[in-house]
Amino acid sequence: MDLILNRYRNLTALVAAILVQLVLLGYQVKSNQEVRLIRVWAISAVTPLARLLESGRSGTSGFFRDYFVLLDVREQNKRLQADLNRIQLENQYLRSELDTAERGKALAVFQEHARGKTIAARIIGNSPGSNGRVVLIDRGRGSGIQAGMAVITPSGIVGKIVSSYPTASTLLLVTDPTFAAGVISQKNRVHGTLKGNGSGGTMVDHVQNEQVVEIGEWFYTSGDDRIFPKGYPVGTVTAARPGRTVKEIVLTPSGLQNGLEDVLVILEGDHAPIPEAPAPNQTVYLQPLPAAEGDSADATTATRSRGAETDLDREVEKARRIGEDQKHVFGERGRGAPDFNKAPSTTPASPAPASPAAPRP
């Protein structure tokens, strides 16, 4: 036996190495558990170096920008950006509350409930072989981060934590094909599942062909997945077409549009209602329609007084008045049709409201 092993030493080493890894792989797939220790070692070895590189890079670039280009403006910009991010989150919450409840009530609710608890994290690297759809962030278990937590930016959702280690965590982006989250459309309240398409975009799955989804419509998290709190923006629809079994909806994720450098991990989520669409923030005055050509003066007056009527409405009204003049009952058998060549009486049978077109929200 020893002779054989010595003679085929190279091959034995190869077979042994492959077998060990196959067993390792089989164990993980079968038990759905990972060999955590090796990952912790690798992450712990790489994270400090990556963090050092990131600090060096940001320090160097920051130095040049701060002292040679804009002096203190960058620091101020950072502060303002942080303030803006916080205000955007608060504003989004407030807007959604105000859309669905009375102003005073919403303010009271907001005073009672803060919008969850988050922690800021910085992206320090991509995961190998993932084409950038899994990234490493510089916060781990030590900062209270656990697998399954949602990650957002003020513009929208970014992904979820898939593994957390003492000093770092891996973040699965919304563009990964294995990502899934429950979403709901803003206008038509269509429920679906957000998935990555693997090429930098996202799609909404499990939406029936009969359901209505419009281009440009916003999708928000629905909270059904118990990962993302309800009411966070996800993205806008860029394409929606009927598919073989379900609708094909392509979504542009809003959280990734401005590049990814700093993110927020939601430690304690807080659901919020989906904002109504469109936001009723101003009233629009509509002019009455112009008079139809060839119509009588009375009809014009009546039409003007009615405001938003169509040509078909005017024709129906004219026919009804002709019928009333000739004592004709529409829909009664054996009575034939009234003589539509006669002009209708000058006074409308049922006077229209004389008020002008009401302002519309």
Binding site: L25, A42, G132
Partner: protein
Amino acid sequence: MSDTAVGFSDSPRKNRASKFKWISIVGIPLAAILFQVYVPRFFTTLAYLEMPLLVTVYFSLMRRSPPSGVLFGMCIGLAQDSLSNQPLGMFGIVKTLVGYFAASVGQRFEANSAVLRLVLAFFFFFFHQFFYWVLARALLGQAVSFEPVQTLVLAVLNAAVAVPLFHILDKLRVTD
């Protein structure tokens, strides 16, 4: 750091095997992995570079010892797996095979030739990507796509980078 050189010396053929300092053997693969993790964040076009693979091929070729190649490949592959979202062993198995075959080639051919290095880097990149795709489908049941033309182009690019990279790494060899 220790100046201990690593290498077998029990046969004339293996006497031709290059020797490296331990710091190079540990540091270069780590730097290659760091490169893959960190650099594409800022230079997305460099994401095509499979530096850990090139380093595996280089060390296996120069050491001319299949067991060493197996060990190199396995360690670098498992380190990559640890940082990825895949189960441990996917990159490990593929790079183990790459290390073994590269070392076997190194035993039979003079690995200092730039042309041979170019061809080997091209071949092993394609093999690596293809075998990873096979494993992902067969062992994990993942419906990942494999685009031969794109992979061939990337193989050419990696091979083009491999030649100067190997030349630089040659400087780290320990001379007797």
